[in-house]
Symmetry: C2
Subunit: 336 residues, 2 copies
């Protein structure tokens, strides 16, 4: 038996010829479309299997107008936030045979344009725009893009579909956890106030305390930087007051680490004297603190998965409500 084509991969023509049918029939058999004798269909499939036939997705896309490909643009390839998002997108879409183009464009509009055009030339079915801050847009405008766009963890236009973690709910879970542990004087040490998430979390912190009839402590919210150093320093500041907190809700896990270091240096037992809750569940930090850190997980992978699934629904022409979609965060209880 000789192959019909020389050195090439096996095509639907090879399958059809070996099965003694036309390529049209072979196509229908393999795609389970049209009507034909069950026996014919089975035979064609058997032959395809034997030959190891894999359809050329490019050729298929040319007629079907679907490439089963989406583009993922990010301005933050190094950051740890968008990575789980990407993994979630990829994981959520592979079941549907969709592959993901990745590109990181930093803050460069020209580079973003080039990458976006390259993807559109390759006929992506849709675009996912993702970043590291929910209150900053990517350096490029997607409004003229001829395919659906979904925004994740970045600022999208008002009429777009944007997926973000539910920051308020996350902060509420954190503070409630501290209250349930018996804390009555709960402080909040967090990042720079110009971050939207910082303001959201701080607002929710206050509301949760008030809802529990707990007085907001004198020091209230301490804004600073996203660093261990700031956590350290903020504790020094808090400890200069008479009334010291018995619980600290931190704006991220790095701050929490600095806070815990400082508490240990002051001889405060964690969580006995002061309980600490972080934010991010950045495992490499949260599992390394002494004791391991209780914190809030933003479910970023799930966020990515939902974004991918939503995008595919848009591609399929489904009507989906526009606007901001906030997905719940999850408290991860460790020992702090």
């Amino acid at each position: 038996m000789t192959d019909a084509n020389v050195g090439g991969r096996v095509t639907i023509y090879d399958v059809a010829s070996k099965a003694g049918v036309s390529t049209a029939t072979a196509s229908k058999a393999l795609n389970d479309t049209g009507r034909m004798a069950a026996e014919t269909r089975a035979r064609i499939r058997r032959v395809a299997e034997e030959l190891g036939f894999r359809p050329n997705a490019l050729a298929r896309s040319l007629t079907s107008k679907r490439s089963f490909t989406v583009g993922l643009l990010t301005d933050d390839i190094y950051g740890r936030f968008t990575l789980p998002v990407m993994a979630g997108v990829s994981e959520g879409l592979i079941d549907q045979g969709v592959s993901v183009f990745l590109c990181s464009v930093g803050g460069d509009p020209a580079l973003a344009r080039i990458h976006l055009d390259a993807m559109l030339d390759k006929q992506v079915d849709g675009i996912i725009a993702t970043g590291k801050r929910v209150d900053r847009p990517l350096p490029i405008d997607f409004s003229a893009v001829p395919v659906p766009v979904v925004y994740v963890l970045t600022e999208g236009p008002a009429e777009a579909i944007t997926l973000v973690p539910d920051e308020r709910q996350g902060a509420r879970e954190a503070v409630r956890h501290l209250i349930q542990r018996g804390c009555r004087r709960i402080a909040h040490i967090t990042g720079p106030e110009h971050f939207l998430v910082v303001r959201e979390r701080a607002l929710s912190y206050r509301q949760t305390l008030e809802a529990a009839d707990l007085r907001v402590p004198a020091a209230d919210v301490l804004y600073g930087t996203w660093s261990e150093h700031w956590g350290h320093e903020a504790v020094a500041r808090l400890w200069s007051f008479d009334e010291r907190p018995d619980g600290i809700f931190c704006g991220n896990d790095q701050i929490a680490r600095g806070v815990m270091d400082a508490l240990r240096e002051r001889g405060a037992a964690i969580p006995h004297d002061v309980a600490v809750v972080g934010f991010d569940n950045w495992e490499i930090v949260a599992e390394e603190t002494r004791p391991p850190l209780t914190t809030i997980d933003m479910n970023l992978k799930e966020l990515g998965r939902q974004a991918g699934l939503t995008l595919v629904r848009l591609v399929n022409g489904e009507e989906i409500e526009k606007g901001l979609l906030q997905l719940p965060c999850k408290l991860v209880v460790r020992s702090s």
Copy 2:
């Protein structure tokens, strides 16, 4: 003036028709192939520009047998090592119009197979396999893959092209830096001995000391885990000996952070009493230590860029020497 096709994107047919030539001529004009009157070429290009013509890459690939697409498989989407690699690949290839499919497969061979097949169906021109450990292969065998494969930061078969950082050179730079600073009793606190990089760095550490006629200290190499905690503990162990080191080369930046915390607690001034060098240049750690950490950067982005360029050369049929390619690391001097 009316568009020839309804609601669709503009095709080469539209360009040809508006320019009053055949699609063959239009194609040649736009691709700068064939011979034709300069005026004709210019006119066709002008029309294409006016119409905003962007060639459909799928259609082009179908004839040209080049998709200008490569697949990137990783087992480590969360890790910070493969991410710069990916960014480098993407950055290195965009100039040639090549887009990158990303997929993370964890350790799952079945998932890897599915992703790989999906990419091959989409006619990727080549594959980059990347991971988090140079001494562990991905959970899938690429030997039957019909396109070139390049391995980066993962174990590939002997006859393959594999790119990794030059661990020995990196370690040498670190130790030499300490020697130049005047350190004479240099210890090495590092990760688990079953990591190849740990053994490579330790070997290079010893060779460099010997080459400088410096005695390897009693404690020699301390193997442990990749954690701050271990750095902390290792210092305690070293400080139990009579002769204490005046320089410490750490196997990674996290260990270095633990070491520095421990030194500070013991009242040792950094770098005056004890100088510290890390490994990885994980900026989020290295810039946060007190003082900021001098460390070794593995140039991972450049590694990725080289991998991408190498892959494209293979795709173009160039002959490239097989085997392990080690790219140099770089000392980043901060204040420790």
